[in-house]
């Protein structure tokens, strides 16, 4: 296609001689319009441009995107300004100059700021770990009990409840202390009063530990004797513990999900108002793992339970296995070795005893 058909003749940066000679015969509608207006009035392009830019300060007729035409005389500007220094000039400047052999340590140019992150490579910060990956999954009753005790403790201390999840796993001694505590059913819907410790020592230790969680505090409990119960405590959280408070609910579910290693469905979260309902929602059986057919068949084959006309192989059978069962593998390899197409690998590399090397004499 001729450029004059796509671009207004005047706008084209370069028009070949053929089109230039053809141009007078084909007068474009634009040119006809231009001719129509008086010569001193602005051209249609000018008027369009000024209407687009909404003002008198429209950019000039020059195309801001494509740059200047190569045909414009004097385009090669500033000769000598950016001229490369003569060869060997740099070397004379300083004797400390060492020519680079690799690009390591050289200044990088031609990249954006965001790409710096990519150049720096992978750091430990970049590694992703799913929520609860650092906690060994616990059975549901134990997890519910621990979450209830911890959240009650945080409520007693008046701290941010959700920050329990920062702990992850406790040390063994602290875990034992937590297991020894119990949460009474909160009919008054008060989590900060339901916790019962077996003795004073346990209470002090746990309060000390949980003061360190999140923002460090030094809070102590008034009238600690009310929280100590000599009764035999149950290892389960009471099922009617209220989760009406959304803050408590969020903290409990977060910690509970972390400790069990299971995701709790949204429907269960929204519909449940007590701990028991949350536990009940998790009682549905987990999805069964799909049967690994190869393992099952391998087990059957080892017992001899497979039908005799079925041969089972754990690995995918290769062409070489078929050759061997047909008896031609020995002939193939003999001929390859005789022709020097397979050379035995040097001793020491036990993993690959044979490697391919064409054009070499066989060595045994």
């Amino acid at each position: 296609m001729r450029p004059s058909m796509r671009l207004p003749f005047r706008e084209a940066l370069y028009v070949c001689s053929n089109c230039r000679s053809e141009a007078p015969r084909r007068i474009s509608p634009l040119a006809r319009q231009i001719r129509h207006y008086a010569s001193d009035s602005p051209s249609v392009l000018e008027r369009t441009r000024s209407s687009l830019w909404k003002g008198n300060k429209a950019p000039g007729p020059a195309d801001p995107y494509t740059g200047e035409s190569q045909l414009v005389p004097g385009a090669e500007k500033g000769e000598g300004d950016l001229a490369a220094p003569a060869e060997g000039e740099e070397l004379q400047d300083g004797s400390a100059y060492v020519q680079a052999q690799t690009w390591d340590g050289l200044k990088r140019i031609g990249h954006t700021k965001e790409q710096v992150w990519k150049f720096n490579g992978r750091s430990p910060v970049d590694e992703y770990e799913r929520f609860g990956a650092d906690v060994t999954p616990k059975p549901i009753p134990a997890a519910a009990h621990q979450a209830a005790v911890e959240i009650s403790l945080m409520a007693m201390l008046g701290k941010d409840l959700a920050s329990v999840s920062e702990i992850g796993e406790h040390y063994e001694q602290i875990q034992e202390l937590i297991d020894g505590c119990a949460v009474g059913s909160s009919e008054t819907q008060q989590w900060n009063t339901g916790l019962r410790f077996p003795d004073q020592q346990t209470m002090e230790a746990l309060i000390f530990v949980f003061n360190q969680v999140g923002v460090q505090t030094e809070k102590t409990i008034e009238s600690p004797e009310t929280f100590i119960s000599q009764e035999k405590t149950s290892a389960e959280a009471p099922r009617d513990l209220s989760l009406a408070d959304p803050v408590v609910k969020f903290a409990f579910i977060k910690r509970f999900s972390q400790l069990t290693g299971r995701r709790i469905p949204d429907a269960a979260i929204t519909s449940s108002t007590t701990v028991g309902e949350i536990i009940a929602s998790l009682s549905t059986a987990l999805k069964e793992k799909p049967i690994n057919v190869s393992k099952k068949l391998a087990r059957q084959a080892s017992v001899g339970a497979l039908p005799p006309n079925i041969q089972f192989s754990k690995k995918r059978l290769s062409k070489g296995d078929e050759d061997e069962s047909l008896g031609r593998k020995k002939a193939i390899y003999t001929e390859l070795i005789r022709r020097g197409l397979i050379v035995r690998k040097q001793r020491g590399n036990k993993n690959r005893t044979i490697e391919k090397a064409t054009g070499l004499e066989p060595e045994y």
């Binding site: 039908p307 005799p308 006309n309 079925i310 041969q311 070489g320 296995d321 050759d323 061997e324 069962s325 047909l326 008896g327 031609r328 593998k329 020995k330 002939a331 390899y333 003999t334 070795i337 005789r338 035995r344 005893t353 044979i354 045994y364």
Partner: protein
């Protein structure tokens, strides 16, 4: 096994006329040197080979062995016995052929090892094939002779070949789904038929030297009477060829057709040995007699009218007379004549043709086929007497034989 040395005088005892052309005799009395020497028996008792012919070089052998899964089995010329129970192909073949359960997989694996693959007689199928071949030919012969007592000898030979000839057996092995191993060896799946292949370019026909006892056997152009074939030739009326030089080491091989035929015979022998005679007969009926063979197409008369005249003369019938039964379009381009051949009042045969002569020939042909293809009703074969509680034997019909012109 130690075999007696045959003395010189024994050749008169074992005169060519005294022996039948069965496979066992071929094995024993033709060029089988290893059975006649004590050295061969020692060899058969000794351990299997140390190396395969292809891999004489021990260094090469060790390197080739390294790439194999079944390294230890590589030292044997045929798969070890315990491999038979692991092979799915073998179990599938056993089930496909509906073989009796008393026939173990190990024996079935042995039937698949040709003598050219493993020359040790304890591991190849040669002995089983010898037994199976004799059983097959015996059952086929008695079936043909009892069911069609008047068949000419040439037709019997052709029918025998069609029922139990090597080409048929090879086709059966193919239909059974038996595949061939590329090379025999211990690492090969025992479900493959294993035999040493013939070198490319070998003339198979020229390789077999004639072992016929027929005098002047070398004279190819001399006429051989059909009757003499009973004595001198094998059960198919072909010249007895020398036993293929099996197991004589490298260079010798058998054709795939021959190896397949040997395998089928060996299966027959194995069934007979393991499951007994009834099972073998059942196998024969199910796999061999069930194959349809149109015997009437095997005839080839040169002058049927003359043969028929001689036949009527021999049987003291009235001389045959050809009469036009009907005709149409005698003067047209396509006339049809229907001619019947009558002996007195009895119509022997009828034929239609475009000319009177052609119609007469066809009528004579039909009459001759009607005579020769006579089959008695309720036939019993001699081997049925071997069953327990069999009814007393009633002699079968024996014919005078074909008309000799």
């Amino acid at each position: 096994m130690k075999r007696l040395q045959l003395q010189r005088w024994s050749s008169t005892v074992l005169s060519p006329r005294a022996r039948t052309g069965n496979c066992l005799h071929q094995q024993l009395y033709t060029a089988k040197l290893r059975y006649q020497s004590t050295a061969s028996s020692i060899q058969s008792e000794s351990a299997p080979y140390d190396a395969i012919d292809v891999l004489e070089d021990p260094k090469l052998m060790s390197q080739v062995r390294r790439v194999h899964k079944h390294k230890s089995a590589l030292a044997y010329p045929s798969p070890p016995v315990e491999a038979a129970t692991r092979s799915a192909k073998l179990a599938a073949l056993h089930a496909r052929l509906y073989l009796p359960s008393r026939l173990p997989l190990q024996t079935l694996a042995r039937t698949l090892v040709d003598a050219s693959a493993d020359e040790n007689a304890d591991f190849n199928n040669e002995s089983l094939a010898t037994l199976g071949h004799d059983l097959l030919t015996y059952y086929t012969t008695e079936h043909l002779l009892c069911n069609y007592p008047r068949l000419p000898l040439t037709v019997i030979f052709a029918a025998m070949y069609a029922y139990a000839g090597p080409k048929t057996l090879a086709a059966m092995a193919k239909e059974w789904g038996v595949e061939h191993a590329a090379m025999p060896g211990g690492e090969v799946d025992p479900g493959y038929l294993q035999f040493q292949r013939v070198e490319p370019g070998t003339d198979v026909e020229a390789n077999s030297d004639l072992q016929s006892a027929r005098p002047y056997a070398a004279q190819k152009n001399w006429r051989k009477t059909v009757t003499s074939k009973i004595f001198y030739d094998d059960e198919f009326g072909d010249q007895i060829k020398g036993v293929v030089s099996t197991g004589s080491g490298s260079g010798s091989g058998v054709t795939a057709e021959l190896a397949s035929a040997t395998f089928v015979r060996a299966v027959m022998g194995a069934i007979y040995l393991h499951a007994g005679r009834p099972a073998a007969k059942r196998f024969f009926e199910q796999h061999f007699l069930s194959r349809h063979l149109n015997i009437s197409e095997l005839f080839n008369f040169s002058q049927p009218a003359r043969d028929l005249a001689r036949l009527c003369n021999r049987e003291n019938f009235e001389p045959p007379v050809a009469k036009i039964i009907s005709e149409t379009g005698r003067k047209s381009r396509h006339p049809v004549f229907v001619v019947g051949i009558f002996s007195g009042q009895d119509k022997l045969g009828e034929g239609a043709g475009a000319s009177l002569l052609e119609a007469r020939e066809r009528a004579a042909l039909a009459a001759l086929k009607g005579w020769y293809l006579y089959s008695p009703l309720n036939v019993r074969v001699p081997s049925s007497m071997e069953e327990e509680g069999a009814a007393p034997w009633k002699p079968v019909y024996v014919d005078l034989g074909e008309v000799i012109v």
